[in-house]
């Protein structure tokens, strides 16, 4: 079944969505949307570095994104600029640096559109194994730090006073973000990864009564958006990344419609929840 490029794309895309959505919940709760953007812009610099140093692209993107995330933590502690100014500075300098570096390497022909917007044709069996192995590792680490990370999200000082070590947890979370961006770049492209993090989580918010529930619902919505978007992409010959994001947006709009409101009211009681 891996012979069909489309099947490969669906498997890869669903894998990415299942990992991105739970992390995306934290992006929404912690108001880190712009941070996600910054990391994905830095991913392009990672691609340039991979060609320059002949590294594996996923690995190189992870290293650059991780470095940018740590640079941000360091700058936030020591600089006199606000976080959003620092993020803008890091995002656009790394994007520009990446584009300039790619332009210099005239001996390489790169499908820039594929990098920016994703390319379903390019998904190989090796990519799928990277997504599933990397994704499983990300989810395992996230499950381990879930409680301290959530406590730090609700209130940093309570978490710190009560022994949850929020600073360490935050750094681990940032590295998880870097990993997700590295493995999902091929499917949605660097410009739209943040959408895959945020839109399913935003859609799930209305239906969720607790943080764990929101993460699971977001993962399912993300997977549905990937399947819908890729079918659309195949049908109408549109780029895969934007098609997935459009599908996610449609699901979000549906969740705001009266039909969803009716569903919300008549919803069966989910396990672990009091009526």
């Amino acid at each position: 079944m891996f012979d069909d490029f489309f099947t490969r794309a669906i498997i890869a895309g669903v894998g990415v969505a299942l990992v991105a959505a739970p992390l995306g919940c934290f992006v929404v709760w912690r108001r880190l949307a712009y941070f996600g953007d910054t990391l994905s812009h830095a991913a392009l610099l990672g691609v340039a570095m991979a060609f320059l140093l002949e590294l594996n692209i996923t690995l190189s993107v992870f290293i650059v994104c991780g470095a940018v995330a740590l640079a941000l933590v360091f700058l936030q502690r020591n600089a006199t600029l606000s976080s959003d100014a620092l993020l803008g500075l890091l995002a656009h300098s790394s994007l520009a640096l990446g584009l300039v570096a790619l332009a210099f390497m005239t001996w390489i022909r790169i499908d820039l559109m594929g990098l920016l917007f994703g390319d379903i044709l390019a998904v190989s069996v090796a990519d799928i194994s990277v997504i599933y192995l990397g994704g499983a590792a990300v989810l395992a680490v996230l499950a381990l730090i879930w409680n301290p990370l959530f406590a730090a999200t609700v209130n940093h000082e309570i978490a710190e006073a009560e022994g949850q070590k929020p600073d360490r947890t935050n750094i681990i979370f940032m590295l998880l973000m870097a990993t997700v961006i590295a493995i999902s770049m091929k499917i949605v492209g660097v410009l739209l990864i943040t959408a895959l993090l945020i839109i399913p989580a935003a859609t799930a918010r209305r239906f969720a009564r607790g943080p764990e529930q929101m993460a699971i619902i977001a993962a399912l919505i993300g997977a549905a958006a990937v399947v819908g978007g890729l079918f659309g992409s195949l049908n109408w010959d549109t780029p895969s990344g934007p098609s997935i994001v459009v599908a996610a947006m449609v699901l979000f709009l549906l969740s705001l419609s009266p039909v969803a409101g009716l569903l919300l009211r008549n919803r069966a009681v989910l396990p672990g929840e009091k009526p």
């Binding site: 609700v154 006073a161 009564r209």
Partner: protein
């Protein structure tokens, strides 16, 4: 296990500096099991900063902050807001940093008077209800050391008395060491073992005197309430003037009060009639 003879937390001559200014300096403080230590002082006097030094959220720039090893801490910070994007019920909030049994959660919520709100979303709570939920959370976790930073803000007056009584009761029943912050200079609990008055440094400390016989308090709070309230009376040897300078008992004026000064009062600082009444009475006493 904790050694009962050791203090849970001790600060020795602790100071914290931020951009060239000492937020607090020369703080000495100890909290033992079963003891309630209350910090009072005007706005900006370093009460919350001192609490954060005791909790280890801030590291001191001078002096020494020590916590007993294995200390289980509960913290009710001043004024936190929960982001409205968080799907968080009161019950899940109770489990934020610790595993708790449903029975413990139910009991703590009942004790703080919000048993009916267990499955309510935190963002829909009123200020007073949220404050009760925060208190319930730390009580249910049964910590060794509890820091309560203005724990009754936004709570209605009857509730305020009930919560202070609850805090005293849990100290008696469960033996927590409690560091309590109040900006009410005049209202501290009768059960407080030690009151520390801060104004960037420790102005004075000691045990609070009962105020049950004070006619003003009886009139204001009623007989029953007066029994659980106390006033901390002390002599003022310097006065903070509106421009920030300090007039001492001998009539001299300086820019700041000195570490060896005793208690002070603000000429323009009291906004409440009770404080003003108390101050006026005390000033009459001086004459």
């Amino acid at each position: 296990m904790l050694n009962p003879s050791e203090p849970l937390v001790s600060l020795k001559n602790v100071g914290l500096e931020k951009s060239g200014r000492w937020l607090v300096r020369g703080i000495d403080l100890q909290v033992r099991s079963g003891e309630i230590v209350t910090l009072i002082g005007p706005n900006g006097s370093g009460k919350s900063t001192t609490a954060k030094l005791a909790l280890g959220i801030h590291q001191p720039d001078e002096g020494e902050a020590r916590r007993a090893s294995g200390l289980k801490v509960g913290y009710v910070p001043q004024k936190i807001s929960v982001d409205w994007t968080l799907p968080l019920t009161v019950e899940r909030f109770m489990r934020l940093t610790r595993r708790l049994s449903s029975a413990d959660i139910k009991q703590a919520l009942a004790a703080t008077g919000i048993a009916h709100l267990a499955s309510a979303e935190v963002r829909n709570l009123s200020g007073g209800e949220f404050q009760r939920a925060m208190l319930a959370r730390v009580i249910a976790a049964r910590p060794d050391f509890l820091v309560l930073d203005e724990p009754v803000q936004g709570v209605d007056f009857a509730g305020e008395i009930a919560l202070y009584e609850l805090i005293t009761k849990i100290r008696d029943d469960l033996g927590f060491g409690i560091l309590l912050i109040s900006h009410d200079l005049h209202v501290v609990m009768a059960a407080t073992d030690q009151v520390i008055c801060l104004n960037g440094h420790v102005c004075c400390k000691g045990s609070p005197d009962a105020v049950a016989e004070s006619a003003e308090y009886r009139n204001l709070f009623g007989d029953r309430a007066a029994a659980s309230l106390a006033i901390y009376q002390h002599n003022h040897d310097h006065t903070h003037l509106p421009d920030g300078s300090v007039r001492h008992a001998d009539g001299s004026v300086t820019d700041h009060c000195h570490a060896d000064d005793g208690h002070h009062h603000d000429d323009g600082g009291h906004e409440d009639p009770v404080g003003a009444a108390v101050r006026n009475r005390q000033e009459t006493d001086h004459v």
